[in-house]
Symmetry: C2
Subunit: 334 residues, 2 copies
Amino acid sequence: MSLSRYFVLTETPTGLPRQDQFTLKEAHLPDLGPGEVRVRNRWLSVDPYMRGRMSGVTTYVEPYDLDAPMEGAAVGEVVASRHAHFSEGDRVRHMAGWRDLAQLPGDDVESLPNYDVPEQAYLGVLGMPGMTAWTGLNRIAGMQPGDRVLVSAASGAVGSLVAQLAQTADCHVVGVAGGKAKCEWLRSLGVEAVDYKGKDASELSAALGAASPEGFDIYYENVGGPLLEAALANLRDHARVAICGFIDRYNATGVVSGPSNLHQLLFRKARMEGFIVLEHWAHYPTFLDEVAPRVARGDIHYRESVVEGLERTPEAFLKLFSGENEGKMLVKLS
Amino acid sequence: MSLSRYFVLTETPTGLPRQDQFTLKEAHLPDLGPGEVRVRNRWLSVDPYMRGRMSGVTTYVEPYDLDAPMEGAAVGEVVASRHAHFSEGDRVRHMAGWRDLAQLPGDDVESLPNYDVPEQAYLGVLGMPGMTAWTGLNRIAGMQPGDRVLVSAASGAVGSLVAQLAQTADCHVVGVAGGKAKCEWLRSLGVEAVDYKGKDASELSAALGAASPEGFDIYYENVGGPLLEAALANLRDHARVAICGFIDRYNATGVVSGPSNLHQLLFRKARMEGFIVLEHWAHYPTFLDEVAPRVARGDIHYRESVVEGLERTPEAFLKLFSGENEGKMLVKLS
């Protein structure tokens, strides 16, 4: 009942991390301290931003310490509590992921809201990825009805919500994804899909131009690389580029050249802005009010890639960079 | 009295324009039409943005037509008027530069304000370059008292006002310029000067870090290239980069790689925005109210590089790209 199995990072990876750089350890938890809760995790989240925490340096989040329990979003059930707000059986979300049994201050734990959605939705479409989509569109890019919106990694956990939120705001949405299956899924949602596979920056630029001849008011950036260059070439006047991530470079080992046409920001009087969703978390209730009822009604579509078993968490994490996942990548614990 | 000498561009330049691509022509002006004025130009402005108008394509301004009279800011005296607001002897500013005698609708002409400054100041520190400095700092970068401000081309017409306006707002100002003389002048204004000459991006980055160990809240960008990369490496959280120009690439003929560290925008939750001052011209009276009395009192320092004679206008223009001008480049007509 008190044995916790957890992952530690044993080495700072260069390039794409290897599975042997993650080690599963176990330890008996101490007795619950005052104000603490113990949570049996049922779902773990793996997310691209975690790669940044493995670099050994502070990027926009603190790095993981080597040989210490790793962290990440998780959903589970309270199995013991010495905190006034939580009782056994409560369903909660917290950041003590990458493990099966978590023990932490109750103040660092949130109860799951009561919408009629599967609990793991609070790690995806109604969790950090969903809030990231909403924040980038609304608080960074200042989406207006009728905007022409371009989104990269459009079939992913963040991108697919970006596309659907923009559709609801009567925007014309073009989504970029890799491969036929992902593009087909996007088209089934009514999103104009562009397959980036096999295209260089100039071919991508032409494809984006064909998909939206008048260009784009918003580019929601998850990827970087040639796609950023192609997007810059297709901006409209006063366009806004919300930079959510640059997954293209998270595992890069050499120098990655920036886009050769950054002057488009000048010519188009455009704005490019990076953000991290945690700084906007005070708006999470607004996001939830707006999006959760639509998810519960089935009006918003989302997909999950589920890997089963704690020991496969590193494998799930690495799939984020192979392009083989569809939608939100999750680890299900038994 | 009606002979106008004017420059035309005879060829679309590739790379740095050549003097033989500009031709001086002359023509007798027709009689004044209703509402028109005739202006004897006394000062012509040459500005880096004009290079963009020579490219044959629309960037953020319309291109110059080949073999048609070129345009640019000019200050002169009305010598004939059929417009109710203007009389002979009025001192005016307008956009029919690159010529000695201009004839144009009075509606396209402004009277010079009555501050106690030399008339050519309305082409520099109190003209488009000055307004550009003020707009980028205040309306794009949202300057706040105490900000750490970095400015490139800091001894130039725009940069030197950026530096002094930021100083007035109690900002710590670091200015980058090329060569000892320019840096000495900046230091005489109390600006911390960094000489970019002989430094690559990494050395520049180290020099900027030494000049402001806590980084920069604002980067006022006139240049591009390795300096942009060095500046990105030294941004503080929530920094704002105002892109006024990328003079580094105006004459580039090949592909110019962008900064290799654009992800700093993400890590620092920073914003980069291009702008063109014309879109902000409604605020020119506010700028003038704030800055002109200080220029008249001698509290703001500015420099001019003056070339004499209409026929030397192309030469003056080309000096903008050689780095040999100091402050605002002007052509004085006799």
